[in-house]
């Protein structure tokens, strides 16, 4: 084989701590290497042309590029060698940037390590075989998981593009957190008035199938051909019959059910529709509180339902959906303020979270939009907001900024002064983070037009004094301790990953960061893609962001799906396992270990059974290869011979 080696300098990224000329010189001495050189930016257009020219002029049969991680540029170089007439798998990459130059300053040791990595790549390449992909058809249906504003936007955009959409929502209504908000910053427009029409669109589109009160049970398959099992949870109400009239709710005798939509500031009934604009507007029974289920006595809702929709015997149902792509928009949870013992959240009734105050402000909230405090229903005269509760604090495992709290505090402070002009409002903050369009101006308005007192400093303690709360903090601008007596304390609780995020990530085979937020494929250049082909992200499941960004990301994910679906077929990855039937001893161990069910028995003449790999299902994990006793099953492009060649090169 005639091999060419191209050592990239990556400007000074590699050349700064690696002698790339020397690496190229040593590579030139390796067996089968016909050409070796070092280049400033190998990934650039002239860099690629240099590779192509060398392939033609030196009659190269294989190429090694020693540069960055293959994650970003392996596809680039594979395309480059392909354009010059080589098979794309006659290419190997040695990572001498992330694995060498970026992690050590010792030039001599770095050069030695880089040369060894190149030697391994060359040794492997000598055993490479041309591999060819086949085409598989694409199922042009898309599933959106999560019906908050990001998921709704993604679903509507896909639907507008003519795609069939399956929208799966865990709760009994779509709308997500935005449906709970009273107003939105910085325009102070009514949240449900701008979200409501989009929610209605979802049910009115013929090409959107909505599974509410449903969760993803399992996911199998691959880009273009996913099979998703969805568990439709028993709501004990036949939604095809339910008209949302509410007669059952009115008559339900179980009246002390925590109203989750109102953040437990009010009571709901055991049979309930979470809020007036709910989509779908269908009733659901909460088993934990329903007297029929807890005491076996009541049957009131069944009696009063005019359409006979109540069915106590209902069971969870599994529906199977076939889709070609998945958009994940599972949103977030809010930080549990009771973690801060000094603030008394969860212990004192008048220390509430930001989302609770949002419900208090809302006309459809527990107090009809009148600002009252939870303990005694009195109008508060003094309100203190505390920023960064569960944000920017490594001691509670939340070192990141939640990005929205500064803005929602300003909004809630302005609304407070609008509702009750005599109320005095204080905000304890660390820094004001208002980088969006018209955001800083909005915070300024709170301070200058609405007279909200901003105190820069943390709060050390909140405790009751009579029927009021004392907030002890410091003003770091004045350098003094301050105490503010307040009737109501609002903790601006931050954003954290949704409780089930990690579990769903395992099902989707996508990765998440240490806080449970889903990892995008590239933090700048592939922000809505994941590392699993065909799975895209939208909204806060990827990291804290506000409504405009979530909506933009929903649209972006929809655009990615439409680009994927613009072709009728996609290429398969030929890096899959392959059985050498002459060596296979029919032990079946590979079938047992395959996590994807990609190996099955194949019957030959005379009833002899041999293992057979389904290339479209195989994910190329290599478990079977490692397990097979006679090594009859080999993962293409990572065969035993290739790996041993690398090991030999390293140990020689």
């Amino acid at each position: 084989m005639r091999i060419g080696v191209f050592v990239c300098q990556c400007g000074t990224n590699i050349a700064g701590t690696v002698d790339t000329q020397e690496v190229a010189r040593r590579a030139g001495n390796l067996p089968d290497v016909a050409y070796a050189t070092s280049y400033m930016y190998t990934c650039s257009e002239p860099g690629q042309q240099e590779i192509q020219r060398a392939i033609r002029e030196k009659n190269l049969q294989g190429v090694v590029v020693a540069a960055c991680s293959p994650r970003m540029h392996e596809p680039t170089f594979r395309r480059a060698v392909e354009r010059a007439g080589l098979n794309r798998f006659m290419f190997e990459m040695a990572n001498i940037r992330e694995h060498v130059s970026w992690i050590n300053n010792d030039r001599e040791a770095n050069t030695r390590k880089a040369a060894e990595l190149v030697e391994m790549a060359v040794a492997k390449l000598r055993f490479n075989q041309p591999l060819f992909s086949s085409q598989i058809s694409v199922n042009k249906r898309v599933m959106v998981i999560g019906g908050g504003v990001a998921g709704i936007q993604a679903a509507l955009d896909c639907s507008d593009g003519g795609l069939d959409v399956v929208l799966v929502e865990r709760k009994s209504s779509i709308g997500g957190k935005m449906a709970q908000l009273d107003k939105t910053f910085p325009t102070v427009d009514c949240s449900s008035c701008i979200l409501g029409p989009k929610m209605v669109d979802v049910v009115q589109k013929d090409n959107i199938t909505l599974h509410a009160a449903s969760e993803v049970e399992s996911i199998s398959g691959y880009v273009g051909n996913f099979t998703v099992e969805v568990r439709k949870k028993a709501t004990y109400v036949d939604w095809t019959a339910c008209t949302g009239c509410g007669a059952c709710i009115e008559k339900c005798p179980s009246r002390k059910v925590p109203d989750v939509f109102n953040e437990n500031l009010a009571n709901a009934r055991a049979i309930n529709i979470p809020f007036p604009q709910a989509i779908p507007k269908k009733a659901t029974i909460n088993r934990d509180y329903c007297l029929h289920f807890t005491k076996g006595k009541c049957g009131t809702c069944q009696k009063v339902c005019p359409t006979g929709a109540v069915n106590y015997e209902m069971q969870d149902e599994i529906v199977t959906e076939q889709v070609g792509a998945i958009i994940v928009a599972t949103g977030y949870d809010l930080f549990d303020a009771s973690v801060y013992g000094e603030y008394g959240g969860g212990r004192y009734a008048d220390v509430i979270s930001g989302i609770q105050y949002e419900r208090i402000l809302s006309a459809s909230g527990p107090f009809g939009g009148h600002i009252k405090r939870p303990s005694d229903g009195k109008e508060p005269k003094d309100i203190v907001f505390i920023a960064c509760v569960g944000s920017r604090d490594a001691s509670v495992g939340r070192p990141y900024c939640s990005g929205v709290c500064c803005m929602y505090i300003a909004k809630q402070a302005i609304l407070t002064r609008d509702h009750l002009p005599d109320t005095r409002v204080w905000v304890f903050y660390m820094d004001i983070r208002a980088p969006g369009k018209n955001y800083d101006e909005f915070v300024r308005r709170a301070q200058e037009e609405y007279g909200v007192q901003y105190i820069r400093g943390r709060v050390g303690k909140v405790y009751p004094k009579g029927d009021r709360m004392v907030v002890q903090g410091n003003d770091t601008l004045l350098g003094v301790q301050v105490e503010v007596e307040a009737d109501l304390v609002v903790l601006a609780t931050g954003i954290e990953a949704s409780a089930g995020a990690r579990e769903l990530a395992e099902k989707l085979r996508i990765s998440y960061d240490q806080y449970g937020f889903y990892m995008e494929s590239h933090p700048k250049l592939r922000p809505v893609e994941t590392n699993t082909a065909g799975v895209y992200l939208a909204g806060v499941c990827q990291g804290p962001k506000d409504i405009p960004s979530s909506v933009a990301m929903g649209s972006a994910a929809a655009a990615k799906v439409q680009a994927l679906f613009s072709r009728d077929t996609i290429e398969t990855n030929p890096q899959v396992a392959l059985v050498n039937e002459r060596v296979c001893i029919s032990c079946g161990k590979c079938i047992q270990v395959c996590p994807f069910g990609a190996i099955q028995w194949k019957e030959l003449r005379g009833g002899i059974r041999k293992a057979e790999v389904l290339p479209s299902v195989c994910q190329g994990c290599g478990l079977c290869n490692a397990t097979c006793p006679p090594k009859a099953i080999q993962l293409q492009h990572a065969t035993d011979n290739q790996i041993l060649a690398e090991v030999n090169a390293l140990c020689a």
């Binding site: 000094e342 212990r347 001691s395 303690k461 405790y463 004094k465 009579g466």
Partner: protein, 298 residues
């Protein structure tokens, strides 16, 4: 009988001797055998670690090494300052960067397997609230006591690894277990002024004055503590506090072990109740003679 090593430290030999005898009496009543560390030495206290942290660790470490040689796997000390020193020694011992130097100074075998805990942690975690409640002979009738934790018992949180650092509840639960009424006490972790008592007792006067004032506001008849320095600032210095604040506080400040000891049926003398500066005989009251006055904050 459970055997654990006992490190009393210097405070408990002197001013806080009632903390020492009440701790021993309560452990005895609960069937815990305290092995006093033979030939124990200073934990290093504040002077050592301000001069050389490694020296401080080694001083405390010697006590741990002896306790380990005695076959104990737990060492208990009532003083939060000593506890901090002992835990610091364990941390140094397990730090790969300092371990060798530490062992060399120590000059005796030490594996660092021993666990260092406070008497509060011993009662709350190892004995347990329910087990304590079961041992109560004379439950309190209607005494109202607030717990005061001070700074070191639960902090720094990673180091102390005990209870909620900002809103600790272990002493609350223990007091409740012996029948005491425990109001919500907002100043349970406020600063008592610590060693400023020596150089600037006006500061201590102000800080402890606030704590005593809040205790009265929430209706307490006494403050329960688990730290000799807190006790000293709140009890011994109450006259100074009165002078600085223009007040007439007369609020008993008792060790948690004394409160529990009475409930376990131990004689007041054996708990050193007579050593307190502000009389704490109210602990012995069977029931209040007159109707209690309604006391609220504000």
């Amino acid at each position: 009988m459970k055997r654990i090593a006992y490190y009393q430290g210097c405070s408990l030999e002197g001013l806080a001797s009632e903390y020492d005898i009440s701790t021993r009496a309560v452990c005895d009543a609960l069937g815990i055998e305290l092995i006093e560390i033979p030939d124990w030495n200073c934990c290093g206290s504040s002077p050592a670690h301000s001069a050389d942290p490694l020296l401080s660790s080694a001083l405390a470490g010697r006590n741990l090494a002896i306790a380990e040689a005695e076959g104990c796997d737990v060492v208990m000390t009532p003083c939060p300052g000593c506890l901090k020193s002992l835990k610091g020694a364990l941390e140094t011992c397990h730090d790969p960067q300092q371990c060798d130097a530490f062992r060399e100074i120590l000059g005796m075998p030490f594996e660092g397997r021993i666990r260092a805990i406070s008497v509060l942690e011993l009662l709350y975690k190892d004995v347990g609230v329910d087990a304590l409640r079961a041992q109560v002979q004379k439950p309190y009738a209607d005494q109202v006591i607030v717990p005061y934790y001070g700074c070191l018992l639960t902090r720094p949180p990673k180091f102390a690894d005990f209870d909620d650092p900002e809103n600790p509840v272990s002493m609350d639960r223990l007091l409740e277990a012996v029948g005491v009424t425990v109001p919500d006490f907002p100043y349970k972790t406020e600063c008592c002024g610590a060693t400023y008592g020596v150089t600037r007792n006006d500061i201590v006067g102000k800080l402890t004055g606030r704590i005593l004032d809040m205790a009265l506001r929430v209706g307490a008849e006494a403050v329960a503590v688990a730290c000799p320095l807190c006790q000293q600032n709140l009890d011994l210095r109450q006259a100074q506090v009165n002078r600085h604040m223009n007040r007439t506080f007369d609020l008993p400040v008792v060790y948690i072990t004394q409160v529990i000891g009475i409930a376990l049926g131990i004689a007041p003398k054996e708990l050193g109740l007579d050593k307190l500066f502000v009389n704490a005989d109210f602990l012995l009251r069977s029931a209040r003679e007159e109707e209690p006055q309604a006391k609220t904050i504000g």
